[in-house]
Symmetry: C2
Subunit: 230 residues, 2 copies
Amino acid sequence: MLPFFIIKNIENKICFLSETDSRHAIKVLRMKNNDELTVINGFGLYGLAEIIDANPKKTKIKIGRIRQEKKPVHLGLAFCPTKSNDRNGLIIEKATEIGVTDFYPLTSQNSERRKWNFEKFNKVLVSAVKQSQQFWTPKIHEIQNYYNFISSNLGIDLKFLAHCKELKKNKIKELSNPMKSQLIVVGPEGDFTLEELKLAEENNFKMISLGQNRLRTETACIVGISIMKL
Amino acid sequence: MLPFFIIKNIENKICFLSETDSRHAIKVLRMKNNDELTVINGFGLYGLAEIIDANPKKTKIKIGRIRQEKKPVHLGLAFCPTKSNDRNGLIIEKATEIGVTDFYPLTSQNSERRKWNFEKFNKVLVSAVKQSQQFWTPKIHEIQNYYNFISSNLGIDLKFLAHCKELKKNKIKELSNPMKSQLIVVGPEGDFTLEELKLAEENNFKMISLGQNRLRTETACIVGISIMKL
């Protein structure tokens, strides 16, 4: 498999890898002139390219014919960021690899973190996109309030919410369908309140269970997304 | 939910938490005399207990009636440990939370790591068991050779192997069944060789796909286990 690199102006025949990417290509991957790579713009355009100057600071490449990969079906993950940014990074990295298209960070009544610097996680996301060889970069939306998000018209076919309360819940594998647009909302460590759950039900969210074990937020995100994607 | 603690000799009415657990209970969770906790022995025995001396070095507890939780159905994860012990730790932590009962570290032709100090990961495992509130501690088996493992009589109902080669593969969700004993084998970053895949097929392993995205070893382990468990 050829290594993936993201290039903004992929329509130009001749362009340069960024300084970080140049170093990675030449110093880490030890690529040389005439070696091939795949370039993507993160919005579905991709093409085969060739190194014409293996400069470790500013690698020059020549891009061949550009093609368009169709946008994947919406797979949304809404979650309340945890206290630990390591664990938030893990959510972004793993869910991107698996195929999430949209991240919706939320603040809810029991949220542990209300500020969220999404710029910080863009690096993690870009690296996961390249590593897992996808053509579209997921979007991390601005952090928003649970109430506004849940009651807004999201235009998504299948909406799920995972919580730990002992209420009637569905099996996610029986309801999910990767051919339809989907969204899962995962609660904070302190769980959603009954009031929050009521609001979600009123807005056609299906309550789902992720099994009997008590999962941490980041594990619940990864497990839910895995089942919805495959 | 009451916090979980592991106690070896759970049959004794009166016992002490270990020094680490005592500190955790009293200093971190701020537990006091008469506060309740759940004690497990990691082999299915559990009971309700009460703190009778909230000593942060040696907490004394009184254990109530002991019950036996039935052993969960076998859910095995065989994988080639990665170079990075952070990522190996992640496999152990997340797969334990989700419900793996047996870990089988393997060395294969393209293994990145041939030595494996499983003691190191026991802490991660114990902490994940307590956190996810399970009654049985998974077992980390000794590291073994892929050939010996695959050709041995494992006595497992459903055996899967995930690889990245473009060969005919099955959808794991169509074959897996959490009511039966199951095992998944996940390849190293360099993948299994054709010879290794042939051996697995001869030994009734079903080749499965975990979707189109190229997943890292630790992500493949977590995704596979999620689908098999739920």
